[in-house]
């Protein structure tokens, strides 16, 4: 396929793929960021989100060496489902924080987030050489917490009564993934030494 509309994939999994977030996808983010269902768990502040505010937030996709954001695509169709990123990447300590939002409501609850998270950890540990990735999730988001566990995160503790939602206080669950405990699904086959070449080969 040489179709111009085919998105670029950096990392391809079984059902999802990760690629760069192109500027012409801003209308998608505009729609996603005004979905209260997404804002409930995204931790980016509540709406309304004007296009200007969306564009200002999304500047992070292009600048700053301490963040790395990918679009999450359904691999087969190339449809963008959401986005995922590493923030506060600290090369000295080998640490980063992780966040993901499945923006397409119809794509939630189908395991796309789990696979995207596993691919993001693959990127963090194998491509970037990081040692530890941290995330936090509100206790009222058990679906997310389960997905993170399946992808390789483990709960390390709870900050109590630190998130106000729906007029009640909820715990914030902290989860960590370590490179030494992670099995690479994809990039472990990419980031390997070259095979010795036969004489005469270019």
């Amino acid at each position: 396929m040489t179709n111009n509309d085919t998105p670029i994939y950096s990392i391809s999994g079984e059902r999802v793929a990760l690629g760069p977030i192109e500027a012409d996808t801003m209308p998608l983010f505009y729609r996603w960021f005004n979905d209260m269902e997404l804002l409930r768990t995204a931790g980016i502040g509540d709406g309304p989100w004007t296009m200007e505010r969306v564009e200002a937030w999304c500047k992070r996709f292009n600048d700053g060496s301490d963040e790395a954001w990918f679009m999450v695509f359904e691999r087969e169709s190339g449809q963008p489902l959401g986005f995922a990123g590493l923030r506060e990447i600290d090369e000295r300590h080998g640490t980063a924080e992780y966040a993901i939002s499945v923006g397409e409501a119809s794509a939630r609850g189908q395991g796309f987030g789990t696979e995207a998270t596993r691919l993001m950890l693959d990127y963090a540990f194998v491509a970037r050489g990081l040692h530890s990735v941290l995330l936090d999730a509100a206790a009222y988001n058990p679906g997310g917490i389960r997905a993170y566990e399946k992808a390789g995160f483990r709960e390390i503790g709870r900050r109590h009564e630190a998130d106000m939602m729906g007029g009640k206080r909820w715990d914030i669950v902290y989860m960590q993934a370590l490179a030494s405990e992670f099995e690479s699904p994809v990039l472990g086959r990419v980031f390997v030494p070259d095979q010795p070449r036969e004489a005469g080969e270019a």
């Binding site: 040692h131 109590h160 009564e161 630190a162 106000m164 206080r169 370590l178």
Partner: protein
Amino acid sequence: MSEQQPVVNITGEHVALGPLRRDLISLHQRWFNDFETDRTQGDLPGPRTLERATRWFERNATSDDAHWFTIYEMSSWQPIGITWLSDIDDKNGTCYFAISIGEPSARGKGYGSEVTRLMLDFAFNRLGLHNVALDVFENNPAGIRAYQKAGFREFARVREAYVSGGRRWDDILMEAIAEEPQAADAQ
């Protein structure tokens, strides 16, 4: 020879807290260049110019979502360090706390835990916050003890997330929660 008493906001038993002061920038620069201080702060140890200390001051002296204080030893009214609440979030009732005792002679005297208590008092009873968190590295047991004495307890441990002295240490997350408010006329 004691200095004249500076402007302070909060007075404890041995320490008091007041605003940041422009005339102390060169003192902050001296503290920032002490690797002993950097060891527990998580900053990359390195030379810190006066320009950089001034930038730090300009940024934080007028901060909107943080409160920065100078720490004074009350017996001498000497500035001995800084302490701050950051990421103040009124919706969720949360913030982060940090402290740095810059004067080596002021360490190990219990000042840190008194400052921590004063700052929790400020966060809970003045700002009305509910949960104050901090992180402290495993290689700083004195800090961990001071925070515990002041009312913090560990809620999570980020394993192997801090590099210092050629090895990895855990990053320990601690929290303090406001007590349930009591009626003013309660016994």
